[in-house]
Symmetry: C2
Subunit: 199 residues, 2 copies
């Protein structure tokens, strides 16, 4: 059964607002790759934008720069080993040494969205497709990439009407990287009683 | 008792790596302000850098741009109402309407670090002082501010030797904003069994 449903672009920031570790992917000219990235954040509400840091050595970055698009998949507690493997293996080295790309090597199940060719990782809980906002100076100097969100989806079992609700779905909780193989999962939902902007 | 100890700058990224919501503060010419910011991420290991999004309307941003420095405090579950208040009140409006700044109005307990004048919020679990990396184009276009970390501390009850350890200190868990008054707290620590770079 498919629980994937479209998220309104103006609510797409909520998929990343709580700081999950993500997988970033890109495709160009028949080649594709995916990597794990803890360093990401929303950048704007409307049009929806995101920022992500991608090391110069990554093949995903090369494909992203060549295609001008990328995708984000938000992995779950059930996928923590997969996220760690995706973050540890070099797609470029695999291709050079084995003639197989990372997606084939790890037997990753992916699907294609509606606005990019970048592979989206199955069994994640959220997905965003993005158009690269070309800013060569910060890309080169800080490895910092900005994107405008062109499509977004979430798993309705844990995200609907603009809100996460992980209760009863602990295996679908997002993961939050610390270092090495260490992660936190998204924990208890709490509500501030302080006055503030309404939701 | 004071549990605050210095964090090595090359490990400072770990204070933000798991995506907590932070308070950003700045001081200039005897004036100071603090705001809440969910949109933040590490940007580099060494020299340690961070990125944060600060809306044009915020007074903290004006003080940051004037002083060329800012500070980050990482609030806790016990402080969620405070973080929400800090994020909801306009320091500029308060000063205009009451002649009192936000820190006075909310009776915030703060201390000064070693490399900036920006107020650091007491009872948080981590603190970073930063020197603004001046990048006018992205500041103006995307409200995106980069900083080089010049000093960092953490509460040794929950962070030591480069690692978070919240067990037994649920009230000190970091908070991760979703929207409105909704937050997650950092949950269970998990360890990937996949092969990867050692920690």
């Amino acid at each position: 059964m498919n629980y994937r449903e479209t998220v309104l672009l103006e609510k797409a920031y909520r998929l990343l607002n709580h700081g999950p570790t993500i997988c970033v992917s890109a495709a160009h000219n028949g080649q594709q790759n995916i990597m794990t990235a803890a360093w990401n954040m929303p950048l704007d509400f409307a049009p929806s934008k995101v920022a992500v840091v991608l090391d110069k050595q990554t093949w995903t970055r090369q494909l992203l720069e060549a295609s001008g698009t990328f995708a984000i998949s938000v992995p779950t507690r059930a996928q923590v080993n997969l996220a760690q493997q995706i973050g540890s293996l070099s797609g470029a080295a695999l291709l050079r040494d084995t003639q197989k790309d990372k997606i084939t090597t790890l037997n990753l199940q992916t699907f294609t969205g509606t606005t990019t060719q970048a592979p989206l990782l199955e069994d994640c809980v959220a997905w965003l497709e993005c158009k690269l906002i070309i800013e060569p100076h910060i890309q080169q100097t800080y490895d910092l990439f900005l994107g405008e969100v062109t499509a977004a989806w979430a798993d309705t079992r844990v995200f609907s009407q603009g809100h996460w609700h992980f209760e009863g779905h602990d295996e679908l909780r997002t993961i939050h990287h610390v270092a090495g193989g260490h992660y936190f999962i998204a924990g208890q939902a709490i509500q501030s009683s302080a006055t503030g902007p309404s939701d």
